[in-house]
Point group: none
């Protein structure tokens, strides 16, 4: 039964992590199965196979539980988005990558995001944070890409934030349609659709060495 203190601590951390992971999974599962408004800590506890009180050793309260779970799921999306933003490729490629990322990511997490997208809001803090902070940070990042494209003469000088939001929501729009119709795969096709519309819509034709179109 001898074990170094370090090993003990380490093992404890792993056990904790396991429980915590179970709980976060349970939060996500409950969110998926019950929707935002059917979400209760009781159900989470049952789903996680732990006592109700245990949830409160991991989260301050219900809102934080949702928040943390959201974050843990959205985290990879943010990381990949950041990778795109800071990569050394042309802005239009970045947007295409973002579009593809949207489709794969939401495809991978479709059940949860059906809830998030359809059930937006409800709780106090989460709502604010998700929408105000997370969504707008996405918009901001995309806007930067757009502005980069404008500087390079690829895109027309349009209001970046609005274009960014339009692009994000147009992508989500198609994602939602995929979700609603339970469509999987064929991502490339939908990416082409969205980016096609936007690149023609925001593209600078002069730069494309083509004849002039309808400039607004």
């Amino acid at each position: 039964m001898l074990m170094s203190v370090n090993k003990k601590i380490e093992r404890k951390k792993i056990l904790d992590a396991v429980t915590r992971k179970d709980i976060i999974d349970a939060v996500a599962a409950t969110l998926i199965n019950e929707g935002m408004q059917g979400f209760t800590m009781d159900k989470v506890a049952t789903a996680a196979g732990v006592a109700k009180g245990t949830l409160y050793t991991h989260f301050k309260n219900k809102d934080e539980a949702i928040e943390v779970t959201m974050d843990s799921i959205v985290e990879p999306l943010i990381e990949q988005l950041d990778a795109i933003v800071t990569s050394n490729i042309p802005p239009s490629h970045k947007l295409t990558r973002y579009s593809a990322l949207s489709f794969t990511f939401f495809d991978d997490n479709r059940d949860l995001f059906r809830v998030i997208l359809y059930d937006r809001g409800q709780a106090h803090a989460p709502k604010q944070r998700f929408h105000d902070s997370r969504y707008w940070s996405f918009v901001q990042k995309l806007a930067n890409i757009f502005e980069e494209g404008v500087r390079e003469g690829d895109f027309l000088p349009l209001p970046a934030l609005k274009i960014a939001a339009m692009f994000i929501d147009a992508n989500l729009s198609v994602v939602m349609q995929r979700l609603a119709n339970k469509i999987t795969g064929n991502i490339q096709e939908d990416v082409s659709l969205v980016t096609g519309v936007f690149f023609r819509g925001i593209g600078n034709r002069d730069n494309e060495s083509k004849k002039s179109g309808c400039e607004n």
Copy 2:
């Protein structure tokens, strides 16, 4: 104080209508002031100046109260959208009109729609209905306009439902940004932005050389 039975009944109907109208207004006001999650029948009753029980003589339950109120507010939007759909103008004009309609309508009801757009969800039935039925019926109508434009050679032959959804959400996207930043007025500018991007994006350039297809 004599009054014919008919008159009595008639008066009753009017009074009922008045009460019903008051209640619906109260529901909307409560939704605005308290948000979806702060919405309680108590508050509605207080706001309407009636007893709590009275609400249940007008609506089966809370969900129906919200539902009916939503409908009563969205009704004019639907009517105007239908007018646009059935009007005898080119498809691109119809879309421009829809875009303008979005902005004016949400501007007029910004307080309520801030709640609906940000607080989407909460109650079971309303959520489903709002999104599944109302939203998709909008998408369908817009899709018909697109298809009309495709048939007339104005638009590229793209998947109509997806394009319709993209257009709706792109408009909402800018609407939400207006709501978030508390921007009013300058509707024309935003209409031009959205329609500009979409017309260039979905416009059939071959056809553009024939007609002057740039609608604002």
Copy 3:
């Protein structure tokens, strides 16, 4: 089934009063049977024979329930004390009356006051109010009587507030001993004891004439 509106309202008020009275009685009973810390709204509801939710149509919360109940019980005591204070009798008679009042009052409500006196405090607001406001208002009133007696040359010019508090607590002291030993009746005797000590002192004057028995 005809009944004037006034009668209806009146009857309703009475019914309400009955329920309210029942609940207040139940609060007091629960306080008595369970003590401050065993006091729960569940138990009150059960004792009152109403649903838990009903309690909250009468009181904002647990603290208010306790507070209101306390007040309703102490009210007659306060009224009688005020009657004594404002009556047109010599200060010493007033104090004697107060002493008698203490004994009869606490005798009448001995079960509840066993809780209050032994279980002082516990809840947030109630504690503060009971002690800080109710107790000190009593002290103040008694102090006024003492000062009156000082002005009339009956009492020595001692710090009124302290003397008042001492007198109140000395009375309570004996009350508590009665409660602890489950003694009833013989009030006159205890009144004489307390007032006797206070009015006259406990020193044996015969003995005092021999030695100078004033110890400090």
Copy 4:
């Protein structure tokens, strides 16, 4: 690092004592800072810098923790009271000493006693024990002094237990007033007041057409 078994055990005892002392201090501190009703084992553990479980190796439960802490604080008071009781001085001197002891002791521990006196109760067992056992043992001891005084002809033959309780509570009464008004020092004055009243009474002998007694 060699050490005899005895030394090890001894050291352990000391360490234990240190921990126990820390915990008791933490209980007292928590009582002071949070009041009876804000008192939780969590807070004690944090204050003591030990794990929550550790508390249960020192005390059977929460009640015992409070109980033991109270005892450890009241212990010196009891010892000093016993010293007074068994000392070879006149009864009246003993009472004066007791009065002075009350004031100094509660002055020294005013923070904790503010909680005990104002927050009396809360926990089941502690309450009972504190009041029933500790308080009454004090009363008994004081009563013995009174009876001694009666036998010696210093005091009138009044019911000793009641007089003792009155004296204790009259002293506490002034102590509480000091606590409430955050008064420190001037102990002698208050001792004289209380003992003066008790020894001499509050009646004005001049007014009673008698010679002057002991004026303070």
